[in-house]
Amino acid sequence: MDMLFENYYYEVVGREGAGDTTCFHIRLLPDCTVYRGHFPGHPVSPGVFNIETIRELAMRVTGRRLLVRRIRQCRFIAVVTPDETPRLDVNLRLTAAETGWLVDADIADAEKTYMTFRGEMMAQETRNRNQ
């Protein structure tokens, strides 16, 4: 499955766990072009890039292309930067629901939690690429 931000914004360096909970070890890529604009001379990871990272890692776990249908609550607790917090753990807990998956996730390292996410993702219909 093609992932939009994998190997652009982050790379996966490890994976642990099975069943309900999966932990992905990721590294943020300092050369990501987003830092040209966020912000010029002062790289800060956009909070929404971490929402996308969670979606892509949930896609890996489920093997399905997912859409973020609802976000119950997503908190950005501390600033993430490729220089100061290059190595992060993304902890994902997925529960099958009627319309897809409940996704409960956080992004943290040994020091602190940077972000928490609770929302619903649903599988996308397959699109005809020739359309």
Partner: protein, 136 residues
Amino acid sequence: METAAIEQLIPQRAPIKMVDALEHVNGDVATTAFTIRPDNIFLEEGQLIEAGLIEHIAQSALVFAGQRIWQAGGKVPLLGLLGEVKGFQLSRRPVVGDVLHTTIAMGPNVGGVTLVRGKTVVDGEVIASTQMKVSF
């Protein structure tokens, strides 16, 4: 209404600048516009992903807040910090060529945190809505 250039109001630049214009301001409510171009970094098979929509809504709030400060003679661009996204709902993803019209309703500022409600419309149809907490 006299408005400042978007680049004057917010620090975001290409490839993550996600507002083209501030269209209307009326009290605590404002509307922005943004056209999805083929080189947008949030595109998956021609569709704008949710992260891109949320970034657009957050930047719309920042543009509105910046415009108010600029009008009052204050210092811009404004550095905003997104603290929370709550109650986001997506009904459909917009696609390349769509023009997003996003209405921002600015709540009171409590201890430096402002509660913002955003709603994005494409061709008259609401495609997404959310609340957020932003620190300006």
